[in-house]
Structure formats: C-alpha cells, structure tokens
C-alpha cells in the first residue's frame, strides 16, 4: 500500500515546495480546495480583505509539516493550519489543512 501511495504521488501529485526554518524541499503532493457551501472565499476585516478558503494537503510520510511550515503551490504560499501524520501501518502520509498566506509587507 505504501508503495502504491508513492506511485500515486509520483504520477498524479502536484509539485510543491516546503519551506521550514531556512530549509527548502521540493516534492509531490496532492493539494485540493476544501469545498464549502457556506463561507465566502474572501471577507473584509479590519486589516483588509482576507482569504478564508482552505486547502487539503496529502503528502509523503517522509516529509513532515508543522505550523511553521510554508507550502508553496502554484506560485502562492500557504500556511499550515493543522497537520497530522496518519495511516500508520497501512499507508502513512501527512495530512494537513492549509490557508493562503497574507501578502508579506515589504
């Protein structure tokens, strides 16, 4: 099952880059928007317009994510909202919820 998962990532995964404490790693993972019926994609806040859509990340077991990890996917940076290593013993992988990072002020 593990080998099957790695093949799936290799074949259908999308290129992403994980940035973590000065380290940068390129790999393949699945990233998909979490579809919600209720919330709006962008809402006004006192600090400006905020994206509130979320993305589901499924990635290889050997590349852990934490709350300080930045995920770059399709030219946009995402912050990790939550991350867990799941599927131990069957098909271990990292499952995370990502949110778009605000534009960094120069």
């Amino acid at each position: 099952m593990e080998r099957e998962w790695e093949r799936l990532l290799l074949r259908f995964g999308q290129p992403v880059t994980l940035r973590q404490r000065g380290d940068s790693r390129s790999l393949r993972a699945f990233v998909q928007p979490v579809l919600e019926r209720g919330g709006r994609q962008e809402v006004p806040t006192p600090l400006g317009l905020r994206r509130q859509d979320r993305f589901l990340y499924l990635g290889p077991a050997g590349h852990p994510l934490d709350l300080d990890t930045l995920v770059e996917w399709q030219g946009q940076e995402y912050q990790v909202q939550s991350a867990h290593r799941v599927g131990e013993g069957i098909c271990p992988h990292w499952r995370a919820v990502l949110c778009p990072r605000d534009e960094v002020r120069a």
């Binding site: 006004p44 806040t45 006192p46 600090l47 400006g48 317009l49 994206r51 990072r101 960094v104 002020r105």
Partner: protein, 167 residues
C-alpha cells in the same frame, strides 16, 4: 459639504506613524498584509456631536486673508477611536505589551492637531480567531470642534476640525 470627520482615522494613523508607532486605518479594500511587527489599526467606534451654543453660534472672527468679519458656527463632537493592536499570532504577548507601551507613551502626550484626547483604555490581549492575530483592544476618547464659517452670502462652507487643546 465636508463634515470635518472624513479624514479623522487617517489623521490619527499619520500622527501615530510620525511618532514612531506603526498604524493603519481599518477596513481597507485591499488584501490584508502580513505584518512582522505589531500594528495599530485605527477605526471610529463612535461619534456623538451636539450643539455647543445657542443655534451653534460661536461668534465672529476677523479673517485677515479675506479682510472681512466672518460668522462661525460649530458643534462639539466626542469621538471614540478604536486603536486596536494586532500582532502576528506566532508572537508572544510581550510584543503586544511593548506596542501598547509605545502607543500609551504617545497618547499621554496628546493627539493630533484638532483632537483633544480625553482618555484612553485597553483590554487584555487575546488570540483573535477571526483575524488569526493576537489582538489587544484599545480605544481613545477625544473631543473636537467641528467649525464652519458662512461666506459673504450667508451660506455655510465646509466644516473643519478644530481642537480645544491649548498649546
């Protein structure tokens, strides 16, 4: 006609920035930015304007530029400004406290021209899930005069903000 209050948030934000306290106005129609340091977000929480004299009449004043006497009218306004401090959620509370100390250090000396700062207060720092930031609510109560003069035909021209602070 201007009421004299349109630029109040920007005036306060500019004043704080000039004093070395990073500040922006609230609710910009642009994507929000990730600040690496705490920032004060200026909003108007409340405004109460009322008559300060009989039929708002403040008296006459000689205008040297136009060379004529002009009649002045005005209302006294009490404004409650939100000066909330937002900090990155991965900061510790000390950064917010330092930002508040800097803000308080500016506010105890007064406010921008035209605003008489009466009092300010703050709440406690908390994580704000809506903004995903650390937030400390701060507000300041100010008094201002909204003054207008009549032109030669007796018609009001724009109101402007006039402070009650005496240097």
């Amino acid at each position: 006609m201007n009421t004299g209050l349109e630029q109040i948030r920007q005036t306060m934000a500019d004043y704080l920035c000039q004093q070395g306290v990073p500040a922006v106005t609230a609710w910009p129609a642009a994507p929000r930015q990730e600040w690496t340091e705490p920032v004060v977000v200026v909003s108007v929480r409340g405004c109460r304007a009322g008559s300060a004299s009989f039929q708002d009449y403040l008296g006459e004043r000689y205008d040297e530029r136009s060379g004529r006497w002009e009649e002045r009218y005005g209302k006294r306004a009490q404004l409650t400004l939100g000066l909330d401090i937002y900090a990155p959620e991965r900061e510790d509370g000390e950064a917010v406290q330092s930002a508040f100390d800097a803000l308080a250090g500016v506010l105890v000396l007064g406010g921008p021209e035209g605003l008489d700062l009466q009092e300010f207060s703050c709440g406690q720092t908390a994580w704000d899930g809506e903004s995903r930031r650390l937030k400390r609510p701060v507000e300041a109560v100010c008094t201002a005069w909204l003054c207008a003069v009549t032109d030669a035909g007796g018609v009001f021209v724009d109101f402007e903000l006039r402070g009650v602070r005496k240097e």
